[in-house]
Symmetry: C2
DNA sequence: AAATAAATTTAGCCTTACCTAAAAAATTGA
DNA sequence: TCAATTTTTTAGGTAAGGCTAAATTTATTT
């Protein structure tokens, strides 16, 4: 079994690898883990010792197969718990993260799989992120950032990139939620802001917003 | 907030205080915590420092009011999660303890209270133990040990004292479960074994068993 | 009331996962 | 290219929560 800290490192490496499709630097990992690079070096050595990552001095880390499947399992638990909190316990999508961060470390295969069944094998969490199944398989997103669409393009809002409380509450306030049909009306060259239409309502949204919303077109 | 270890100590002290209705000795606590007396002394000092227990050297510990309410909160969470596991996730009553030991440490008031609501404010856990409400109040048992009944006495089986996997599985094997009507037919002076009737079936049970089953009479 | 036994505490050490400061390697750019 | 900067690692230290062994206090017997 892995310690709490080891699990958090594995998850962080997984997220960074996925986001940047490359090995993970010590500094980037320190940033993600809110800790110092020297602490990262220590832990990375430990993970390398256990063959959960491949590590060569000064060259960053990559998850090994074993490390990846451990990370995916944690992500699976995290996202299942998020679904549980929203669907069964009346949490809103901006409240789930902190609690799921704790619940993801509960060790019980039966618990995870029964929870999955209880929730009817959900495919995505409340932020639109895919939930790995019991074998660690999950669909890779086929969607693009709203910012990449052109005037006239239409699509369904399927996920958020940033899932901070602030961003999620901004979306709530503007009645933007997953599953909604979005149409791009106009794009402003100057500040890259956009006019979009949701439910017949026109919104003006900044570039920061449009680069954090995933849209599925066609 | 309290550390994992602090929480476990508070809970252990609470259980020992309740069981023996007295202050808790260092050795008893070490036994309960599966650790060494010297480690207990260290932690007890730390808890005393934080005013969660009253402690005088060589004289054992007692929970302070603050310590007690922290302990009760942990017990509340533990028992609520047990109900959840049995009622929603198909766990049997001998499987829940280990997982609930982990879940009881999740920190989120909203989670606890919403879980309570979701489960419809259960009063007892799967082993018959009372569940504290959000204010820390819970009913004190008005029941007695099966071993204390006399031939001819009848009652309902309402709880188990020992909730080890072995004992619970023994009960399952013998179709003894909570809510069942039990009648004492005979008591053997020699080994204190008993003949009892459950659902028209006669069982012969040893003293060890009868001192671990709670019965509500009248 | 000693003497012995049992319980408890103290002292000093270990591991995990952090930290700071300094050294070393890699990268950048003049 | 080679000096300056940035990144990473190393060295040595800290706090939490364990441990063993030794010292001390309390309890039990004779």
């Amino acid at each position: 079994m892995f310690s709490l800290s080891e699990e958090n490192y594995l998850k962080a490496i997984f997220h960074l690898e996925t986001a940047y499709k490359s090995g993970v630097s010590t500094n980037a990992l320190a940033e993600e883990m809110q800790t110092k690079p020297s602490s990262v070096t220590d832990m990375v050595k430990k993970l390398a010792e256990k063959e959960l990552v491949n590590y060569k001095k000064y060259q960053g880390v990559k998850l090994s197969e074993e490390g990846k499947s451990a990370a995916v399992e944690i992500v699976r638990k995290h996202r299942l718990w998020e679904v549980f909190l929203v669907e069964k316990l009346n949490f809103s999508w901006d409240e789930v993260h902190e609690v799921a961060e704790q619940l993801e470390h509960i060790k019980s295969e039966k618990l995870t799989n029964e929870l999955d069944k209880f929730l009817n094998y959900p495919k995505r969490d409340p932020h639109g992120d895919p939930i790995p199944d019991a074998n660690g398989n999950f669909s890779v997103a086929n969607h693009q950032l709203l910012a990449e669409l052109k005037p006239g393009d239409k699509g369904i809002c399927v996920g958020v990139k940033d899932s901070s409380v602030e961003f999620l509450q901004y979306l709530d306030k503007n009645r933007i939620s997953l599953g909604r049909q979005i149409e791009v009306l106009e794009k402003e060259d100057f500040d890259k802001s956009m006019q979009i239409k949701i439910d017949e309502v026109t919104h003006n949204i900044s570039h920061v917003i449009s680069t954090n919303l995933y849209i599925k077109t066609n």
